[in-house]
């Protein structure tokens, strides 16, 4: 098998997404700075730079909050799936905004000719034992480092090279980065600036990320439990028309992997819910051009046998399906990847 690697594979949708993203970030930073400028007109250059530090820092924080919310939002409501497709570019842009924040900070020291002070601040070890004067910039640096590693390894090559297990573990560090940023702000600017806006922003961000994860997890637990299993162990999915055309219903045997049961017109087939690329939730995707299309990065598989169309070689586990007294049922025993198992549904049931 031969693979070709390119830097970025843009298509029209992704270009539109990236364009909107860039415009939103530019608008936010400019708007934030303009309002700040009006409220507290800067008199010295360092004060003006400080405004840009705040604008870019706030922007990066909000972007992190959005990234961490997209996953559970898409699990709760399919309309948010569109946001999930290009999470990678969103992540890299977040790193760049945070890097700009750091760049402005460096220039803040540079224009006052006291860059060495920054080093002294970061290496005054006894301050790390304090709460009020904690070197909060070190927390920001740690978060920036995490974002850097993630942005640098976001290309598909790294998924292949590091293996999906390590890659996934590495990218879970985003939660660590978020925690570090919250402490960075709580121990930093929140200690000197007496405005409710900053604690409000922190609590709002952390609160919405936590609540969304809890609701999505709770909904899935309920979904997993409420499943009827027949005597021979087949799982009831529901009548054929209850499966959205060109979409899927996701079922799971107790404790077992999730199964995505798709319908394409009168064809019904069951595949593992895990995409062969990065374990994306296939059942949340749609059938596009006759192929099941993963919502995360668009890998495609034939419904009939779970194989990616040539020249690709990925194969998914399939499951046997049948129609029993008008109800679609799926056998939770996995078949070998690439085994044809889809069936035709009698038209009177649709």
């Amino acid at each position: 098998m031969s693979v070709g690697f390119r830097a970025v594979q843009w298509n029209r949708d992704k270009l539109v997404y990236d364009g909107i993203l860039l415009a939103a970030v530019a608008l936010f930073i400019a708007g934030f700075a303009a309002i700040h400028w009006q409220l507290h007109p800067p008199t010295k250059l360092p004060d003006a730079i400080d405004i840009w530090i705040r604008a870019t820092g706030t922007c990066a924080f909000l972007m992190l909050t959005v990234i961490l919310s997209i996953g559970p939002l898409a699990r709760l409501d399919r309309r948010f799936l569109k946001l999930l497709y290009n999470r990678r570019h969103f992540g890299v842009l977040t790193f760049l905004v945070a890097l700009t924040h750091f760049g402005f900070l460096l220039s803040w020291y540079l224009v006052q000719h006291n860059l060495p002070n920054l080093l002294t601040e970061l290496t005054t070890w006894k301050d790390y034992a304090k709460f009020i004067d904690f070197p909060f910039k070190a927390l920001g640096l740690a978060a920036l480092l995490v974002l850097f590693v993630m942005a640098a390894t976001s290309h598909d090559f790294w998924l292949l090279f590091l293996t999906p297990r390590i890659w996934k573990a590495l990218h879970m560090a985003l939660y660590v980065a978020y925690g570090l940023v919250i402490m960075h702000v709580a121990l930093g600017i929140m200690q000197g600036e007496y405005t409710v806006l900053i604690p409000l922003m922190l609590a709002g961000g952390l609160g919405s990320v936590a609540v969304l994860h809890l609701i999505a997890g709770w909904r899935e637990r309920r979904l997993d439990r409420g499943i009827a299993v027949s005597a021979e162990g087949w799982i009831a999915v529901g009548p054929p028309h209850a499966i959205p055309d060109k979409g899927a219903r996701i079922v799971a045997a107790s404790g077992a992997e999730r199964i995505a049961v798709f319908r394409d017109g009168d064809e019904i087939g069951a595949l593992t819910n895990l995409c062969a690329h990065q374990n994306g939730p296939l059942g949340e995707g749609r059938i596009i051009d006759g192929c099941v299309t993963c919502p995360w990065h668009g890998y495609q598989y034939r419904l009939a046998d779970g194989c990616a169309p040539p020249p690709f070689t990925e194969k998914l586990i399939t499951y046997r399906v049948r129609i029993n007294r008008g109800i679609v049922e799926v056998d939770p025993q996995p078949l070998r990847p690439g085994t044809p198992a889809a069936i035709k549904c009698p038209s009177n049931l649709l």
């Binding site: 031969s2 070709g4 690697f5 390119r6 080093l119 850097f148 590693v149 090559f157 090279f161 590091l162």
Partner: protein
């Protein structure tokens, strides 16, 4: 203490840059023998190779060892 930390970090970064450049120019052919990689993609992978250089070095050596035994068979 601060000095040791500073030079330690600088040394790590320097190793990263040297090994990273070597890896994206020479090492990829051994790690991904059947892949064609464009020049922009190699540049895009450089920061990752530089920061993860100990892991990259380990995998590179493994790939070389595997290629050797393959040829011996």
């Amino acid at each position: 203490m601060a000095i040791i930390l500073f030079y330690g970090l600088a040394l790590y970064a320097l190793c990263g840059i040297v090994i990273g450049i070597a890896f994206v120019t020479l090492g990829l052919a051994q790690v991904l023998p059947h892949a064609s990689v464009t020049a922009p993609a190699r540049i895009l992978w450089l920061p990752g190779a530089a920061i993860l250089w100990p892991y990259v070095l380990m995998r590179w050596r493994q790939a070389r060892a595997a290629a050797k035994t393959h040829r011996a068979l």
